[in-house]
């Protein structure tokens, strides 16, 4: 499967990645190779039934465990006001 320059630019934008034109060029062939690998995996389609009999997701009981201490949480924030993490304004007023 071939990725066009346009595809790569779009994916990069969604992923908030700033790529140079050279990098876009490079990824269009590299990402194609990765995706092609999935075509090989598709050959295992026959065994799908077996995959479906995998055990269901494990579920835990609704018991409370200790959350992180305030000190640790706040130390993770590059910038804060009171107990809040500060980020650039995300909603523009109209």
């Amino acid at each position: 499967m071939g990725f066009t320059i346009k595809d790569i630019a779009y994916i990069a934008k969604l992923a908030r990645l700033e790529l140079s034109e050279d990098e876009i060029e490079q990824f269009s062939s590299e990402l194609s190779k990765v995706v092609d690998y999935f075509n090989q995996l598709a050959l295992f389609e026959e065994e799908e039934k077996e995959i479906k009999t995998l055990p269901s997701v494990l579920e835990r009981d609704d018991n409370i465990s200790v959350s992180l201490s305030q000190e640790i949480v706040l130390s993770l924030f590059p910038s804060r006001i009171d107990n809040f993490l500060v980020v650039p304004k995300v909603r523009k007023e109209e």
Binding site: N63, Q70, V73, L74, I81, L85, V86, V90, R91, E94
Partner: protein, 481 residues
Amino acid sequence: MEFNITIGLEVHVQLKTATKIFCGCKYFFGATPNTLVCPVCLGLPGALPVLNKKAVDLAIKIALSLGAQIQERSVFARKNYFYPDLPKGYQISQFEYPLAIGGELPLTDNPKKKIRIKRLHLEEDAGKLLHELPGGIKSSDSLVDFNRCGVPLVEIVTEPDISSPQEANDFLQTLHQMLIYTQTSEASLEKGSLRCDANVSISPSHSSKLGVKTEIKNLNSFKFLQKALEYEIDRQVEVIRSGGQVIQETRRFDARTGKTYPMRTKEEAHDYRYFPEPDLPPLEITNQRIKEIAMTLPELPWQKRTRFVNHYSMTYNDAVILTSFRELAIYCENVLRKAGKIEHKKIVNWLKTEFIKELRNYKDFKYAPSEANLVKLLQLIETGRISHTAAKEIFEKMWGNNTKDPEQLAKEMKLLQIKDTTTIEEWVNEVISSYPQQIEDYRKGKKKIIGFLIGKVMKLSGGQADPRLVRELLSKKLNSN
């Protein structure tokens, strides 16, 4: 030009669990920001989600209440987008294979109309963003509280079956009532445990094509939902009438102006690049589990209403009032069951007027008189031992202390009607000898004067004589001689 209105709702319901959906952090509204978080819900590298069984059970309970088909196998998926309230950069949700599909919810005002449910799925809530500083101070930044990250949610998506803002309001109210009945959610619009987005489009009545829809986000009260839709429909009508076209967009409602405004969203915002969540195998739900949960379902509000109408021959509107919440419905039914021969209509009247009036005053069911004591009171009226007016006075005193016996109270308050004929006859004789002129007038044919004489006897009895007996004894005396 007439228009058809097409509305669909997306409702988010926070589930009533002790902990979050994928970690053991507890959550409650109003906690100190960023204190109910851990590596899992903060999306720190290497942390792995573990599904909360209770959240799944509650979601199944809601799905069953709506008559939805629980899927044997549902799959968690990553919904990818960048926003500061989403520390992982994706939300764990369900996409292609939701927990349940189908189902319906009957409206309350018009129970014949059922709004079909398209799908119901489990997901995690995102954090909360503040756009101004605490205290309402303008800020050039946004503030993030991650406490809400990972709170279990059920998203319920309706088919576009709703055809007016009132119906949308009705749907949300009925859903809210069901969630409270089933104890699956706090379902508080104010606290954000029930949130609603609405899709709305209009199209000329003669056209079979659907119009372009807009989506109004975050309607956090029943009133706002209705108001926002009313405004948005008027706006769309105006756009079309003036020859324009409605643009598909997301809008928000401003409660202060009563208007909706476009929200700036980037054009590729809806490309979420969903893929199956690699950290969680598919969720399989056995029939046995569904059966067990089905057994915990209470009778649902709309089922109770139908049964009340059929069993207790009350009107549908009365049934709506008496089933407005489960505790009230159970109370009313107990009274109706225990009241023996008293006509249902009389009991229903008492419940929907006197009882509800006091309940509004006291605001809490714990102050209500016991069912048995209310039945006793109704029997005192039924046997004529107290008047209807006296009963109201006694009933007021029965609140706040549910062991107060109405008969005892009637005695203390001197409201028991005196039905002893000897006692009443004494008062009758006294009145007859005190008003010879009036007696003569009566015997000459001025029959109306009996009202005056009854009044005199009642006064002598301190208002306690049974007025029917007084009239009976008085006329007997006046007509015999």
